[in-house]
Subunit: 304 residues, 2 copies
């Protein structure tokens, strides 16, 4: 199935207790597309970069069969840059700087050839732009959306309008609580179902992820990593693995959604093992299957 | 198998956003014994109360086939009292008062008939007393121990000495980090293995529990409760369900330890549905099995 990904393309400067990288390839659209490319190709990416965006990054994305027809290159502009520092326990992140640059005026124009995409993944961008994207798509079979605290706080009404067109929303636990003003995550998820999406995925970092639908609650463990080099992009890698598997199988049954959550978790667990998208550069089906099985073994018990 | 439980017997005054109780039956030994009594009987309890301890509580424990030969009753003393208040999200607890009373001079004397107990559960008491208990037991097959931040901070050396005689230690995530000065929970668990116990169980509240041994990591989800009335005793109910199942089956294989974690989680999930030990008063094998299966369904996925 055809998969469209819209989001940021960025150059990230990241410091963690284990090292640092400067202006490494990043952004939600990059992580989502790269992760999804292990399940289905080509991936249709829509985003914007400046004239300073390196040819090397273009080549890498093309090597992952990411179709860049929708990547706007503003020659006299600069690419979006983000800088962040993770504290010792990696659960707390300080943003050091955000230079929106060409991203400030991002106008997501969907190329004609992308308008019939059946699977759509909306990375974390302004909900107004997310809706603008959806208005250009003919008849999507599945829309997966991400958001963040900033939009929940500053553009709640617009986000609510966009959420009515999402089938799946992926948020983290604090975002779910902020969105619903409800501390209990199960209750929060059920409230979000009333806002539009019928599948709610709550990412809980080191505690795994949870999927809530009208009929089911599914709990996915976190992969027990002893060393997390760089948590940047884990959520987007999850989204990419999740929608990539669904686009590949075109099966939206509850059972297959569960598998998609585990594939998402698998990609996220690989993502954090190196800086930037480095760990997503050379995955293989075998490695992904290995981790999928490791997830199964992690929570499996015999009843006797 | 014979199961000995040593810990506090208390009268708890608890406030939560859903109501309050005054001087309700509580204490680690009570929760552990009551939970374990659904798996194996009689349970041998060692603890201390004052002359004010109600006959009604004695009768309840006897009705659960808890052998009270080791319950010291100090007629001219008062029972240990604890008061706490849970905040809105139930993750934060403020201790309002602690009146140790007869518990201050608790000298855990193990009755002769209890000294051959094969399964021993040490509730959260001074590690010096925990060791004193173990020195009176002939040849335990399994020692499960609990502790808390207070002992880690004030009696680290004594705790380390006691831990060398524990086979299983049950701690929560913040205790595991405090004990090891290691933010990563997997690394923390592995460090604890080096301190004595070969099975480490880390309770993560609303995120479930994790068991780490030399050979395996097992992740148990949390049961998705929409309303938690009173979190008091959840950890002790977990310990009781865990050791109760092991004492009943006398099987210490990794596979059976996983089942024990799920039985512990099941009892803990029932415990928090009402105030005090109320939800543990009238459980049944059927209800426990139902929840055990619900835990299985929560994390199960088909591979296709």
């Amino acid at each position: 199935m055809s998969l469209l990904v819209v989001g940021s393309v960025a150059l990230d400067t990241v410091e963690t207790p284990f090292g640092s990288v400067k202006e490494a390839l990043g952004g939600s659209a990059v992580y989502i597309s790269t992760a999804a490319s292990y399940f289905t190709t080509p991936i249709r990416l829509v985003g914007v970069v400046g004239g300073d965006f390196s040819e090397e990054h273009i080549k890498f994305m093309e090597s992952r069969q990411i179709d860049l027809d929708g990547l706007q290159i503003i020659q006299d502009g600069k690419t979006f840059r983000w800088g962040g520092r993770y504290q010792y326990d990696l659960n707390v992140r300080d943003t050091l700087f955000t230079e929106l640059n060409v991203f400030k005026k991002f106008d997501p124009i969907i190329p004609v050839g992308f308008k019939s995409s059946t699977y759509v993944c909306l990375g974390n961008i302004d909900p107004v732009l997310q809706l603008q994207v959806l208005n250009q798509i003919k008849k999507p079979r599945l829309v997966v959306g991400d958001t963040m605290n900033y939009w929940i706080e500053t553009k709640r009404d617009e986000l609510m309008a966009t959420m009515r067109s999402m089938n799946v929303i992926i948020v983290n636990d604090s975002e779910a609580r902020l969105l619903t003003q409800e501390p209990n995550l199960i209750k929060a998820a059920k409230k979000i179902i009333g806002m539009g999406p019928h599948v709610i995925i709550i990412k809980k970092g080191e505690h795994g992820a949870m999927m809530v639908t009208e009929e089911t609650i599914f709990s996915a463990p976190a992969y027990p990593l002893e060393t997390i080099f760089d948590p940047t992009g884990a959520g987007d890698s999850f989204a990419g693995g999740f929608i990539g598997w669904l686009a590949r199988t075109d099966d939206l049954s509850t059972e297959n959604l569960k598998r998609a959550v585990i594939y998402g978790s698998s990609l996220a667990s690989y993502c954090v093992e190196k800086f930037s998208v480095d760990c997503l550069r050379d995955l293989s089906n075998l490695k992904i299957q290995d981790r999928f099985h490791a997830f199964r073994d992690l929570s499996r018990f015999d009843e006797k």
